[in-house]
Point group: C2
Chain length 196, copies 2
DNA sequence: GTACCTAACTAGCGATCGTTAGGTTACCTC
DNA sequence: GAGGTAACCTAACGATCGCTAGTTAGGTAC
């Protein structure tokens, strides 16, 4: 896979480095070195270091949102009124986005704190809205007796933490294909809140 | 709670800042400012910045290990041969350590990457051994039919990610006392891998 | 009163940080 | 072959980084 634009190549290596060493632990010159270029040369393609972080985080957030929207639409069309099905679709969509670009997703999950205040707040708002989608399905499931009676807030946070853990160990070249990983996570997630 | 020694006060402030902004995102002068002292003054109590991180991480790791040892001993004495009971005790012990010092635990979970190579490797080894305790109980449970048939490695990683998520939202002054949080996490964890 | 200890200070070192400015090279298009 | 453009260069700016050195102030012990 060759990068279409130089800007994209910068964001890709930045994703990798930000994920490995964190935003603050990565210098502009580190990114440049990975591209065999001088640090100052990056500023022909980028306006600031934070701008690179924001681009990565914003894109990842958008991909998570779009995948969740598609998943919910499909689940509601396929088996309307089935909270377990809808939640499973959400989890699968989430894991798919995660595994399709572990670096960017890992940065999204861990490095949003390093964003400038306005960007940081914007991401927090979007993250809240995203989490609310999961919580709504969990609440629905509890209401119809499909899920066990548990604190929906804690269940939602814990479920997403569990799923996001994938970013910590998934290896695109590992033994498990992304689809199998998603299978496992869907299974564990649903069972976590299911009514025994 | 007043710090007994100046060194302890430094580590406590550092835990808070490292957790909020990360190790690389926190300067020696930041820590000193929080203590109303000049940056250089810290070096009377500390040999290096990394030494502070290592002290925090090492202590947290030791507390997790000790709590797990005690929990396993109690569970094995109380109800030997019951994997669900042993795993529940491990999870409860883990959450207890987590909530008793969210800052230090959060640093342990997220900032071990910033350690110097030798320290980093040492923590990785200990973390592997720690995770193996959980995996062993999960494998035992699968063997006796108490837990569902799932990949023990993925189940262990996902379970610990779920539980560690507590470090992201637990508030010592919040509505939920630590014991209730532990109850919820034990419930969710066991159900996640239990045989329905 | 002298010696020691703890805890802080000021001053500054060399390195690295994000970023700017201005100039050079290679290639594409007309 | 002139003009345009994308990509990169060198040099350097002011700020901040982790850390060292040397000193001062106040308390305690002999």
């Amino acid at each position: 896979m060759v990068e279409p634009t130089r800007r994209q190549a910068i964001e890709d290596v930045a994703s990798e480095l930000f994920r490995e060493r964190g935003y603050a632990g990565t210098s502009i010159r580190d990114i440049a070195r990975a591209l065999a270029v001088q640090g100052a040369s990056l500023y022909a393609h980028v306006t600031s270091k934070e701008d690179v972080l924001w681009a990565i985080v914003d894109r990842a957030a958008t991909r998570f949102e779009a995948a969740a929207t598609a998943a919910e639409a499909a689940a509601d069309a396929d088996r309307p009124g089935d909270p377990a099905e809808a939640l499973a679709a959400l989890v699968r969509a989430h894991v798919d986005v995660l595994t399709s670009d572990v670096d960017a997703a890992g940065v999204f999950v861990h490095e949003w704190r390093a964003l400038a205040p306005e960007h940081r707040q914007a991401i927090l708002d979007r993250r809240d809205a995203y989490e609310a989608r999961f919580r709504r399905r969990i609440e629905d499931g509890i209401a119809v007796g499909a899920f066990a009676m548990t604190d929906p807030g804690i269940a939602t946070s814990t479920l997403l933490s569990a799923v996001n853990g994938v970013a910590g160990w998934y290896d695109p070249n590992g033994r498990l294909p992304a689809a199998r990983v998603a299978d496992h996570l869907v299974e564990l997630s649903i069972r976590m809140i299911a009514n025994a």
